[in-house]
Symmetry: C2
Subunit: 362 residues, 2 copies
């Protein structure tokens, strides 16, 4: 039994309280300043207003001003803030987090500084500074929070640079419904976890393409088109993981194909993809249909746009190997209104093996 | 422009007549003895009764007794019979097919002789005998026939042992809606193409598990579970491709992940999976709900059952690396009624790289 702090009471942070409480850990769920209504509901023993479930009674809710006291005795910090909240969290934690407490991030995204692309664990480590000596790990894989919160079965990867730390922490999370495998491929898992949102937006375009396509004799859909987009997504993810220093194996297990699969079944990224597939500009779709929604795939596109360009210009990424990524990024960031170039898929690399990609990068 | 014979007027063989005719080839579509009503409909310029579309007028329908005359002048034979029809086709072709005419198979399946597992192109080559010197190639990737027949966009791989042959034939098929990439990974593409049906049956079990699971507070589905099954399927496919002598790259492009994705969206394999996921025995589900249906994934399980056991016994395949495959094969072939062992997924290989699998196989 460990003392575990979850920072961020949104859907994913809160859902993780369930397996952790079921394992018998002492769990404190500390909301951010955006989570006040959620924490208030849990204090009243009401349902979590976004997960629509009662959390286990043993989960102790808390507000941001309790953070300093709480982390003092913590053996693990689970970071469940949104990607936009990482800077806030780093600022809060720097002065109060004991230097050896490991962190498990469930925040997903990539950080771009205009020149390079970093995973969020790398970014957070830099923000925490040299005095922090703990392991920053992350969980990837199919994890719709509302399903985890009611103990529906899933399988995930807990990745950290240190194998022993990943093994130990995976054991802390594992339950008969939450199957957790340790992995050392932190960069691979995190690149997949972030890009799957962006690519799910692309796969969702098939639904919009279908709606704007001419009627056909047998009323067929465009499932083949969606699947071709899915395959190119997986293919490009293997290129990106390799180029950013990870192991492409992440792509054909839980964090890549598995999480992309579930993300394509529904959700905000797919909805935005549908509008773009119909030929609508991103700015118009956002304003008219999704003004209040955080479309994570679009946020990731905006975060990496400048860095992606810089890396292509410097020859560190090959544009021809990323036709789908470039089309999505341009649709979101430049309001470009062009069809996805299926004819350029797979073509650049021919039948080369993915491990050969890296050889071509300078 | 080439003279092309398609043998088998089922949905896939017939659908391929569309891009081939659009490319200006002279296409003869020869039905098997099971296709008489289809060929008669095409002769009357009616719609194809299973595709529900009119084929292009330039496609010339024919009956089995026209085969000998037709293949005499052919530059390509497309084999579109069912996997159960490969022996029949080989028997028909042995005496009449000119020894240099290449074959492109769209028949999917694996051949088991109780000791080893062969891809259908390997099996067909043996059946055609040493006098046949042509290239046997195959097409893999997302290809719902009714969508291809109305020119909905998709991307596929045309794989052959000879790179130049695959390039030349891919060019013959390619249209602005049918994007065809040549590949030399014939074994990889064919193992994926066959196993995707079997694994789609497994992914479909999540729908049945959901129906028989207790009600939950927030009415969540089991999308995570389906995605975890999908990820394990891709993972095991990479193991099987490697073990059978192919390149696992096929798994994370069109023939593997792409085709599995589309196969999981609907169809007979998913329907059967749902019954098994609800806890029903295969024999009962088949008899009660799908007595007339060919469930391709189940056919593949039956075809490889004995060979799979023999290869595991000889240490050529590791049972611990194939928990999902073994569970599906046992459900279908032994009428076993057990839950899918999620807790054994991914575990056997830890964080090894897939290219290391082969080292463990004798």
């Amino acid at each position: 039994m460990a003392n575990i702090i979850i920072l961020g009471a949104g859907v994913m942070g809160s859902a993780l309280a369930v397996p952790l409480a079921d394992r018998g850990h002492k769990v404190r769920l500390i909301g951010t300043h955006l989570d006040d209504d959620i924490i208030a509901a849990i204090r009243r023993h009401d349902i979590h207003p976004r997960l629509k479930v009662h959390l286990p009674d043993s989960v102790l809710p808390g507000s941001p001003d309790e953070l300093a006291e709480a982390v003092g005795g913590a053996e693990l910090l689970v970071l469940g803030v949104s990607s936009a909240g990482v800077d806030w969290a780093a600022g809060k934690l720097t002065s109060v987090l004991p230097p050896d407490v490991p962190i498990v991030m469930v925040t997903k995204g990539l950080a771009g500084d205009g020149e390079t692309i970093q995973t969020l664990p790398e970014y957070l480590e830099k923000r925490l500074g040299a005095t922090y000596r703990g392991d920053v790990c992350a969980i990837g894989g199919p994890s719709i929070a509302s399903e985890l919160a009611v103990r529906r079965p899933t399988c995930v990867t807990l990745a950290g640079r240190s194998g022993p730390a990943a093994h130990r922490l995976a054991e802390w999370f594992r339950t008969p419904y939450y199957h957790v495998w340790p992995d050392t491929n932190l960069v691979g898992v995190e690149v997949c976890a972030a890009l799957k949102n962006l690519y799910a937006l692309g796969v969702g375009m098939a639904a919009g393409m279908l709606e704007s396509a001419p009627a056909v004799e047998n009323e067929s859909g465009m499932h083949n088109t969606a699947a071709a987009l899915f395959a190119e997504a997986v293919w490009e993810m293997s290129y990106m993981v390799t180029a950013l220093g990870g192991d492409p194996q992440a792509v054909w297990t839980l964090a890549g194909g598995g999480d992309l699969y579930v993300t394509c079944q529904a959700g905000r990224n797919s909805r935005m993809g549908r509008w773009l597939g119909k030929g609508m500009r991103y700015s118009e779709a956002k304003l008219r249909y999704m003004p209040e929604d955080v479309v994570e795939g679009a946020e990731t596109a905006l975060a990496i746009r400048a860095s992606l360009s810089a890396m292509i210009t410097r020859g560190e990424l090959d544009r021809n190997s990323l036709p789908m990524l470039c089309a999505i990024v341009e649709a979101v960031c430049d309001d470009a209104c062009r069809p996805i170039p299926l004819e350029r898929f797979f073509a650049a690399r021919g039948t080369e093996r993915p491990n050969d990609f890296a050889a071509g990068l300078s």
